[in-house]
């Protein structure tokens, strides 16, 4: 499976030629085709120095190059270990052109895996060209409004075509490209070598036969394989009618013409582009030789356009937001002024009645004080009255003491201002005597009363001191006052 990569081995090319324009630079002649509304048409036929379009066109394009300045080389690398392919290819390309690495544009395709001297090798086809030359060509084409996105080698197209149509038998693929004839040798569907020569001389047919014989001889010598088939693409009618029988008899191999594309009859000058018109998918796996700077610049341009669009959108949004904010701020300012005027009016009215205000304030303070005073009343009479119902007849109270819990707190904390007695609980401290003579009766009566008191004042706050109860009948209690009477 051939592998196509960007220069630097970045990613596999994904090209859809059926939506783009394909240009073919054959030496200095620039030809172009495009697909318009599903139909194929010729859009350019001119020299590279003065490019012009036959139809109004724009957008992206792919450039196919066949020039003498483009060099090709088959590179074999060990299959096993992982090697820095991009770096190796860059060095090979520079060596091939005899130039510095940064002056070289190159690309490569994997041809396949072969065994050489007992070692498995990966075989690549490397194409290299002067980078400046490609940049100039791309710039010339940009002048007519076409942006070249990929630069392909014509040989790469032939290799792709041959890989598909040659089968496993060793053989020659002959492709007529207007005044050029390409002869490409394939063995087991793998590219072997490529020869190209000019047509149109007087003794062309004889020359052509000799060239086939030379190629067959070279294949035998170099690749140790006899040519067993010849396949011809884009062949002119004279070749089909006159040359094929002669060729078959002289080389003793079958010569099969490949199906001709419809466009060949109308535009024979398009040459290799006719192969693409027949099958646009043919260009998909080819490698691109666009120099990294050009690609980077293009990427930057795209990025710039995108960022410009985003910036314009954001500026628009900000503009809308600013307009809204400005009008809102204007409204707020008016509201603020209105409030300020109202406040001024109200305050001047209040200023005129300052005396009343002071008087009212003083009254308010007095009312608050009165409220606090009323709230601070402990309602002690209720507690005392309640107590009188809780004491049985046999018990005689000797003394009752009570103290406001707030008063026991430090003066600094409470101050002099009255307030509700939160926190501390008030107690009625009671001392009394049980009048029964017998200690058991005293004890029983006191216990009964205590149980009763515990029901009335539940909780742990009820405190009892009864050490003298059995001897003298004396006791003391601290009864918590209920919150209602506080």
């Amino acid at each position: 499976m051939p592998e196509s990569v960007y220069i630097g081995g970045l990613a596999r090319l994904r090209r859809n030629l059926s939506k783009a324009t394909v240009l073919y630079l054959r030496q200095d002649r620039l030809l172009g085709i495009s697909w318009h509304k599903g139909r194929f048409r010729k859009v350019m036929d001119c020299s590279l120095e003065a490019p012009h379009l036959l139809h109004r066109l724009g957008g992206l394009s792919t450039l196919l190059i066949h020039r003498d300045s483009m060099e090709h080389k088959v590179v074999s690398l060990p299959a096993g270990p992982r090697i820095p392919l991009a770096r190796v290819m860059a060095r090979e390309a520079a060596e091939l052109l005899g130039a510095a690495q940064d002056e070289t544009a190159f690309g490569w395709r994997l041809l396949g895996r072969v065994e050489e001297d007992g070692t498995w090798m990966q075989r690549y086809l490397l194409a290299a060209c002067d980078r400046q030359e490609i940049q100039q060509s791309v710039a010339q084409i940009r002048g007519v409004g076409l942006e070249v996105t990929d630069v392909l080698s014509a040989l790469d197209l032939l290799v792709e075509y041959g890989t598909r149509f040659m089968g496993s038998k060793p053989g020659l693929l002959v492709v007529f490209d207007q005044e050029l004839v390409h002869v490409v040798f394939f063995k087991e569907a793998m590219y072997g070598f490529h020869r190209v020569f000019q047509a149109g001389q007087e003794a062309f047919q004889e020359e052509l036969l000799q060239e086939f014989q030379r190629s067959a001889y070279y294949a035998k010598q170099r690749h140790k394989a006899a040519v067993e088939q010849i396949r011809v693409a884009l062949a002119p009618s004279w070749f089909l009618q006159e040359t094929i029988p002669v060729l078959e008899s002289s080389l003793q191999v079958p010569c099969t013409p490949l199906p001709l594309p419809q466009s060949l009859e109308q535009w024979p000058e398009l040459g290799l582009l006719n192969l693409l018109s027949q099958d646009p998918a043919l260009g998909k796996p080819l490698f691109s030789m666009i120099p990294p700077q050009v690609r980077r610049r293009r990427h930057l341009r795209r990025l710039a356009a995108l960022s410009l669009a985003v910036e314009i959108l954001l500026i628009g949004l900000m503009g809308v937001a600013i307009t809204i904010f400005r009008s809102a701020n204007q409204n707020d300012k008016e509201t603020l002024l209105g409030y300020a005027r109202s406040l001024q009016a109200v305050e001047s009215s209040l200023g005129a009645r300052r005396g009343d205000l002071q008087e009212m304030e003083s009254l308010r303070h007095s009312v608050m004080t009165a409220k606090k005073i009323m709230a601070s009343r402990p309602q002690l009479h209720l507690s005392l009255e309640e107590l009188s119902y809780l004491v049985p007849e046999e018990i005689r109270l000797e003394s009752i003491k009570w103290k406001d819990p707030l008063e026991e707190q430090p003066r600094a904390a409470g101050g002099s201002s009255p307030g509700p007695g939160a926190g501390k609980k008030a107690f009625l401290e009671i001392e009394g005597i049980l009048q029964a003579r017998e200690p058991e009766i005293r004890y029983e009566a006191f216990s009964r009363w205590l149980d009763f008191l515990k029901e009335v004042f539940p909780g742990p706050d009820l405190m009892v001191q009864s050490s003298e109860l059995l001897q003298k009948g004396k006791f003391s209690l601290a009864v918590p006052l209920s919150s209602e009477s506080q």
Partner: protein
């Protein structure tokens, strides 16, 4: 390539301007809220003043004077308050009535005095009634501490009371 840079600068400018406007808007809103609160407060005061005008002539002032009495001077206050306690002791038929004017303090125009009252009461009910009168009468005399001790058939009672009042002239 220059245009995105210029537009980026414009965008930054608009963002900065937006932020400034945003800040202004926040400051304005804050100011509006403050003014609104002040205006509301002033209006409430104005309404209260109008209410005050209506109340001024009514019996509220008199009612207030009932709970926090207003005396001409401290001496009058002492005489009147001591007299009131003695009167209540007499009403409760307490023997040996005795009143002692203790510490007094003044705070924000309201004075507070501590008075100790003593008496020997004929019954427990008389003590309860006396305390009830102290607490619920006008002016209210709020018990701070109290001690009831049995003396034969009678009850000796000693109570510390606090009383609030106002003085028109002079100070404590």
């Amino acid at each position: 390539m220059m245009l995105p840079g210029i537009m980026a600068l414009v965008l930054i400018g608009t963002v900065v301007y937006y932020l400034i406007l945003n800040q202004q808007s926040k400051a304005l809103l804050k100011e509006i809220k403050v003014l609104e609160a002040r205006l509301e407060e002033a209006r409430v005061t104005l309404r209260a003043l109008e209410e005050w005008e209506r109340v001024r002539g009514s019996g509220l002032i008199w009612t207030l004077a009932r709970w926090v009495p207003l005396f001409g001077d401290p001496l009058e206050a002492r005489l009147r308050l001591e007299g009131r306690i003695l009167e209540l002791l007499r009403e409760a038929k307490a023997a040996e009535p005795w009143v002692e004017w203790k510490a007094s303090i003044e705070e924000k125009g309201t004075a507070q005095v501590r008075i100790r009252a003593r008496g020997v009461f004929p019954s427990y009910q008389a003590v309860v009634n006396w305390i009830k009168e102290l607490e619920q009468g006008a002016p209210p005399m709020i018990p701070v501490s109290m001690e009831i001790r049995k003396e034969g058939m009678r009850l000796r009672v000693s109570a510390d009371l606090k009383v609030f009042f106002r003085v028109e002239h002079g100070s404590l």
